[in-house]
């Protein structure tokens, strides 16, 4: 038995790098840590659930295009050259016209889109499988994880080492790609985006991000 969490996570003589662990347990989202970035929506709700294993839930307003990102208010401590993020997430509808991301993004405003540096585990209601998606500040690309999208909880692990980005779902063999890797430092973030005026929900009960 070691006496410290530090020793469980860091080799002897190694200086720990930035790490955050969020369990989304409590009466409200920890807004000392997390910030909200909302685009074109009023009436969105980001709240802890009253549900066994429910974590935090984003509910879009149900009015037009609507996007909510929960992030670190542009405090970008994670390196595009070596960072990983583990997230436990689900969406409550696998159909309709909505998108959910969990991963790293450089700058708030419009979320995980072309023009941003990011790497994420993407749910897209128009794409059969969960995808690894990344952006290099100008273009984006995705590769299928091979795991079909659904409404179940999954553990997603995304990583970036530049130029390689990777994604595993529920510990399965990682898919990787080298196209459009992020090229700047980033923050942890997760997003729910509704395109068709329907109220969609995305839930997260764990996020751990760390530099490697």
């Amino acid at each position: 038995m070691t006496n410290s969490i530090y020793d469980q996570l860091n080799a002897s003589g190694t200086v720990a790098k930035q790490r955050v662990v969020e369990t989304f347990s409590g009466d409200a989202l920890d807004t000392d840590r997390w910030s909200l970035d909302v685009d074109d929506g009023s009436g969105n709700v980001v709240a802890m659930t009253d549900e066994v294993d429910g974590g935090v839930r984003i509910t879009t307003s149900g009015s037009g295009y609507d996007r909510v990102v929960v992030a670190f208010n542009n405090k970008r401590q994670y390196a595009h050259t070596g960072a990983e993020l583990i997230g436990v997430r689900k969406v409550t509808s696998s159909t309709g016209n909505h998108v959910n991301h969990i991963g790293f993004v450089d700058t708030l405003g419009n979320g995980f889109v072309s023009g941003r540096h990011f790497v994420s585990a993407e749910f897209h209601s128009g794409v059969t499988n969960y995808s690894l998606q990344s952006g290099d500040g100008s273009a984006i690309s995705r590769i299928s994880s091979g795991v079909a999208r659904d409404t179940n909880w999954h553990v997603f692990k995304v990583r970036t080492t530049n130029p390689t980005t990777g994604l595993s779902v529920d510990g399965a063999l990682e898919v990787t790609k080298t196209s459009n890797p992020p090229a700047t430092n980033m923050q942890p973030a997760f997003e729910e985006l509704a395109n068709d005026g329907v109220a969609y929900q995305g839930q997260v009960r764990y996020v751990e991000a760390y530099n490697t």
């Binding site: 020793d7 469980q8 369990t23 409590g26 802890m48 009253d50 066994v52 529920d170 009960r205 764990y206």
Partner: protein, 205 residues
Amino acid sequence: MAFPSVYEMFTPLTTVRKQHFWEYFSGATLNSRWTETSVVSGAISDSVDGGYSFSCGTGTWNTSAINFNQKRTFSPTTAVAITVAKRTGNGYVINGFNDSNNTWGNSSNEAAISNLYSATYLAGFNADGTTQSQGNLTQAVDTDFHTQKVECGTTATDYSIDNVLGLTRGTNKPIAKMQPIVSAMHYNSGSAPTAHVKYMECYNT
């Protein structure tokens, strides 16, 4: 280095982790994840290993608690609460799970350990929303910190003190989702109790 991530300390990546939190009660103030209900003199202690302490009013059965404001993410059949706590003063200090914010009685769902100043032993409480009942553990009542573990199972609740199982009780076990709770409850006379808590961890299994 044993683990690349905190996640993998407890769960392989092939398993989807369930709700799990831990709280050190360390800092300038109580973490904002907690709701303080009718708390009197709640503060982080300026003492070695002091954690957080709070009291309640001195009226008969006055009760105070820290809780998650009924964000009940823990299962009545598969949840564990580990609390390092102690009582000073008179009355009760209770820790574990409850579906309400500040009610101890027949109408709540509860699984918790109580330390009543006038009792001989610590006690394990169950309540199923209709009836509350309790049984004695083997740990004598005192004013020391103890590691107190409540394990909600499908047929019974297990109660342990300092890693010694003191009671298994199926009667009136909870049947509804619950939240973590630490309570101080005045008995009927004398000084109000003060609850001291320096660690709490809850998880679904």
